[in-house]
Amino acid sequence: MSVIFKKTTGLTEAATHYCPGCTHGIAHRLVGEALEELGLLGDTIGCASVGCSIFSYNYFNVDMIECSHGRAPAVATGIKRTVPDKTVFTYQGDGDLAAIGTAEIVHAAHRGENITVIFINNAIYGMTGGQMAPTTLPGQKATTAPAGRIAEFSGRPLKMSEMLAEVPGAAYVERVSLHHPKYIRKAKKAILKGFTCQLAKGGFAMVELLSTCPTGWGLDPVEAMEWLEANMIPYYPLGVLKTPEEV
């Protein structure tokens, strides 16, 4: 008998504080596995952002720093410019990356910072209790959009990957989804590519992971996966938005 699946050493023993069925856990595992497989765990510095994943520093088996809300890309810049040989990544939610941290992510891309960004788009502010995010879909309910997001009032959701792919310094941008094992395998490949891009000094790499927030969405975890597939993927098409020649 041989073990064909076991917990990656990229994660610590700590149980996560995430709600049942929250895809943050899946994303964590994929990042941990990718770092382990690339042999980077000892040489990596991770930047935790403010959102449900703020405690990710308890879960990733790498050195980590907590960043103020939205500022992880600037912190990562400071780190990478100081120790360019380390692998540096940020792990950010959509409130963090697409709202308050817009300037920082755009300019990390603009400068072509050689970092990897893991972007968890769950179309909501999870940690603070389900408020509308820039990525919340039209009609989707949120505590600050009690009747559902109204595009005429709040705009249509921001597509960060598409926008950042337009920035000259962005080397690799891909959108994947975590709603089903088949897609989770693809997500893993994208995350691996996000890190190998950094190893190849390719420049700014971002992987957007379409994710669920069962609690914020008011759905059970399985329904949430279905909702993601039915609603998010049509608006946020999956695929590579930008790729460096060599990766």
């Binding site: 610590t12 765990l41 810049t77 400071g78 380390k86 300037a103």
Partner: protein, 355 residues
């Protein structure tokens, strides 16, 4: 040792490199632009890194990352830029990141003016960000002292694992004055680096730098440790200069560029027969209480002079503890007081029997 005529801002930048600064992150703002511009030219030559940030917020967060990865990093800005950094500074204080932040103050509030002022005394001494924290705040009064304090600030930051403020202003930053860089006083201190992020290399458990502690008991004890450290800094690093204080009947209190103007007045007043002296805080926080506790018998009144609306007066009152009246004379909005108006105010005060 040869003297060079240098702008205060450039002397700061040069001294920072001598003090061991390896990384600078900043965003342009008048009247401190000579600092990043100097670094852009000179820091790479010294093997360091100059990076222009997209904003002050990005700058202070780059600083955070860089220092967390072991650099001797700094940023500089001017008043509204400092206001934007407050969240980041609170974070630096909470995570005890050694680094240096220069504020070349200008008039406020709002955009105010680009002319000199000292109206960030509160910002520099009472946080401005959230939570209980204090920042060691050095306030030079000459270009020479700017250079010396700047050079030393990195060692202080390392010694206490704390951000350090270097508080200059548009006058000190823009003026040129002879400055000497003495090669031998150059103090570098590696500091304890066991907290920096290096990657764990599978040789130790992963390290985390963080400020969030949801367990109140843990956050409280972290706060108490910080307060302890602030107590240590207070006891050891409080600095001040006394000028003609021996027999002073009129005690001025002023810091930074205002203090040099006050010195002119004091000389003038002494010529006119009025025995004036000066207590010049060289650290704004910790504020030098001691010289006020040992004021000369001859003392009749204290005049606090600032280029603001009286932000330091409370600290002076707290130090004087009612032993003599504390008056305030200030100019603001970029107006720089003239020595003559100070003398006049002082003489009126004395003859008006205010003492």
């Amino acid at each position: 040792m040869s003297r060079t005529l240098m702008k205060g801002n450039e002397a700061l930048a040069r001294a920072a490199i001598r003090g061991g600064c390896t990384h600078f992150f900043g965003y342009p703002i008048t009247p401190q632009n000579e600092i990043p511009e100097y670094f852009a030219r000179e820091l790479p030559k010294a093997g360091g890194l100059f990076l222009q940030a997209e904003s002050e917020i990005a700058a202070v967060n780059m600083l955070y990352g860089s220092a967390a990865a072991g650099a001797q990093a700094m940023t500089s800005s001017s008043s509204p830029g400092l206001a934007l950094m407050q969240e980041g500074i609170s974070m630096l204080a909470a995570t005890e990141i050694p680094c240096v932040i220069v504020n070349v103050m200008r008039g406020g509030p709002g955009l105010g003016t680009i002319q000199p002022a000292q109206s960030d005394y509160f910002q520099m001494t009472r946080g401005g960000g959230n939570g209980d924290y204090r920042i060691l705040s050095l306030a030079p009064a000459t270009v020479q002292e700017s250079a010396e304090m700047m050079e030393e600030s990195f060692a202080l930051a390392q010694k206490y694992r704390t951000p350090v403020f270097l508080v200059s202003d548009g006058l000190l930053g823009q003026m040129m004055e002879p400055v000497q860089f003495d090669r031998h006083t150059k103090k570098k201190r590696a500091g304890n680096k066991r907290w920096i992020l290096t990657g764990h290399h599978h040789r130790r458990p992963p390290r985390t730098i963080k400020s969030l502690r949801l367990d109140p008991a843990k956050l409280e004890s972290h706060n108490l440790e910080l307060q302890d450290k602030y107590g240590r800094i207070s006891r050891r690093e409080t600095r001040f200069e006394l000028y003609r204080m021996n027999d002073a009947e009129l005690v001025f209190c002023a810091f930074g560029s205002t203090a040099r103007i006050v010195k002119n007045s004091i000389d003038d007043l002494r010529q006119k027969g009025c025995r004036a002296g000066l207590i010049r805080p060289q650290t704004l926080w910790p504020f030098p209480v001691q010289p006020f506790k040992t004021l000369p018998e001859s003392g009749k009144a204290v005049i606090c002079v600032e280029m603001n609306c009286g932000q330091m007066v409370d600290d002076v009152r707290l130090a004087v503890e009612g032993r003599m009246p504390v008056h305030f004379y200030g100019r603001c909005g970029g107006v720089i007081p003239e020595p003559a108006e100070l003398s006049e105010y002082a003489l009126e005060l004395l003859t008006g029997g205010a003492a």
